[in-house]
Amino acid sequence: MAQVFPYTYYSCPCVESSSTKPNAVQSAPQEAAPFLEDEEENTFDPRSPRANFSLYPIEHLLYCTDCHQIRCPRCMVEEVVCWYCPNCLFEVPSSTVRSDGNRCTRNCYNCPICTSILSISSLEKPTEGLTPNDAASDAAKAPGGPYFLSCPFCQWSSLEIGIQFEKHFNLTSQLQKIIRGDTHRLGSVTDLASPRGEEMEGEIQGRASVASVEDTAPLPIQGDTETLFTNLYNFYRAQLSELSDANPYSLSSDYSFASPSSITRLMNLYGSGGRTKKDRPKPIREAAEFSEGQKVSNPLSEKENIDRIRSVGWEGTASVEQRLQQCREDVGFVDELRPLATLLRTKKSKRCKICRQILSRPESKVSTNRYKIKLLALNNIPKITMRSLNAQPAQHPSFPMQATAPGSDEASTLKPLVPTHFLLTITNPLFDSIKVTLATPSTTPGCVKSKVTILCPQFDVGANTDVWDEALSSATDRSSKRQSQMLSAGPDGGSLTGIQAEAGKVWERGRNWTSIVVEVAPGSLPDSIGHVTLGDDAQGDGGAALDEDEDVLEIPIFVRLEYETEAGGDDGGAAHARKEDAGKEKREEAFWAVLGVGRIAG
């Protein structure tokens, strides 16, 4: 999917913690100047492979009001609030999630071919009634069985693998029964203790010996994954119960190796210990037989698979994605694919990794979208938006009103070497006015060097006061400001394009936002005519073909803000209400952001 220009991504400061300077961002005001110089040497490079993991659109970021820092998905800890099925929206109790294998156990199944949701339909022959009147006789009853699952998208149906249902509810248990029946028919075992199991064992051993002698022997019975799994599960459970009999510290309760019981067990196994040999438990051994869940690879089945591929062809072979979605490993053909029970989804609450403060906590009910706690970065750090000053895009990038023909989108295509003006708007969500300092490397990193100049790198942004304050007071104020600016811009200030952007001056200012002009001279792509590059040493890679998205102009920009706020208080409205000089505290924040401007035309 093509990225919509322009965009702004924010870099979470947590990326710094893994680099050499862990405290680079948490600098005190007095350190500000050296800090900036320091940063000059390792400016943020949006193209570095690491950058991908710290750049987020602002709506994905949260803000820890204790640490006063942005929190991205990498520096948050998630806790599951509830599990639910995305299809039937049933909330699954946490106790059954694990035993159900994280899947819906009601009637939700996905198509094994194309993953869309399957619907249950009746196989009953339709009645002759056509109009509602004719159908009135049987209108009261729903269509009868048998039923089958069918995919509305790719038209796959469970009939293709021979599965029909008697009832249209409780599919999971019906499906299980059908599959069990299948495996029994295949001649495998589910119950270890049954005499059939013993018999099978002998049979397999016998077959295996035969198989080594002659190729024509029928396949050794392998059983399918379910049987193997059950066998293996029973085997390990038996072992564990043996162990727990011998050992007072039961292993079955916790599997973690870090747990005290495991350590004790290991100490008992390997340490000298004061214990007698009698007390030492028998070490767990691996499964060694079919009845214990061991699976032996079989050369004959390979041969059979090859023959089968030959007969069913490409269409009959399952794709890698389809095979990976199945819960069994030995699926290779389309007619072995089974409907997939829908995977559950979760609602999660998020905590700050450092101070454990809850950053967001949704209400636990599946049906609501409300949050009990939600500390958005959007409400705590300024929002940066960018748009072209001269060329008005035909339509809003994320709200297109008319279909656009591919390639017709000139607004985000930049002409190389032609200086273009962009309007950078900083919107302040805080209830205190902020002082913003912007910095950017003069040429963008990457092999296409573009020159970037921020015409007004230092400015103030007003507080996010009541909307109506502004509506009542500054209606005339703003227009006069605009007027004066136009006058200063020159005689042809009437037209928008005629206004010259002036260095050191703010372009326009509103209640809680300020716009400044950024001049961008996009570098030329190495393959274009002339091989002119604005950068100093770009000729080295001039001949090389561009990497993917190398022609996208992304401007890294360093944003630092200072503001005074109520000491100790949070940034809520209450603090704003009682404004006193006494409890003021100077606060500072800094982060990198990346502005995606557009693609440079080749």
């Binding site: 194309c114 339909s121 196989l123 022959k125 339709p126 056509l130 998208f153 790719c154 149906s157 009939l159």
Partner: protein, 217 residues
């Protein structure tokens, strides 16, 4: 709605040559109204558009929704009984230069659409033939001269290239992947259920979509 009024007007002027000019004005393009052979039991909505120079024939029970366009400029169009042509669908070759810049494509003389074919909204049908009971879903493009078999399902937004032949019971889905609809092939009951549903839909549409056959006769 002024349907009754306009219908009355159409009836009074139908069959005369003066009708042609007024139709051209109505559809705001300068293509002539097509010569037609319409079954009296077909439903053609007032706002449907039938233009071109070759014959457009529509069989009994077929429902043509408002704003569906049937163009017979380059080849005749024959729509079988019990078809549904939804709004925004275009049947017929509209602009040759787009598909066939070299002009080496063999154009079908007639676009033949079989029985009980469901053509959904936004489709572009330039196929030579569509077999019976086939579903052409939303925004599908069937290239010029392609042949679609019987009982096929062409899922939304798929593209069939010009001149392609799609065998019976084929499903085209996703990003133009193809598979065989084995369940439909092996279980005739499903086909029964489907055609019953189609029949019921036709029945309901006949009551919901007001017909203005006279406009096109």
């Amino acid at each position: 709605m002024d349907q009754q009024a306009s219908q009355a007007k159409r009836v009074s002027t139908s069959g005369t040559s003066s009708n042609r000019a007024s139709t051209a004005k109505r559809s705001s393009t300068n293509v002539p109204k097509a010569p037609t052979s319409l079954d009296p039991n077909a439903i053609i909505a007032n706002h449907a558009v039938l233009t071109g120079i070759h014959t457009i024939s529509v069989a009994a029970g077929t429902v043509i929704h408002p704003h569906a366009r049937i163009i017979s400029t380059y080849s005749a169009v024959d729509i079988g009984p019990g078809c549904i042509v939804s709004e925004k669908a275009v049947i017929g070759l509209s602009d040759l230069s787009q598909d066939d810049p070299e002009g080496d494509l063999e154009l079908p003389e007639i676009i033949k659409i079989g029985q009980n074919v469901n053509i959904e909204s936004g489709t572009i049908v330039e196929a030579a033939e569509i077999g019976e009971n086939t579903l052409i879903d939303v925004d599908v493009k069937l290239g010029a001269g392609s042949v679609i078999g019987k009982n096929c399902t062409i899922s939304a937004c798929s593209v069939v290239p010009p001149g392609e032949t799609v065998p019976d019971y084929t499903v085209i889905y996703g990003n133009n992947q193809r598979r065989l609809n084995k369940s439909l092939q092996s279980t005739p009951v499903i086909l029964d259920i489907k055609s019953k549903g189609h029949e019921k839909q036709l029945n309901v549409l006949q009551r919901l979509v007001p017909s203005n056959l006279a406009k096109w006769q």
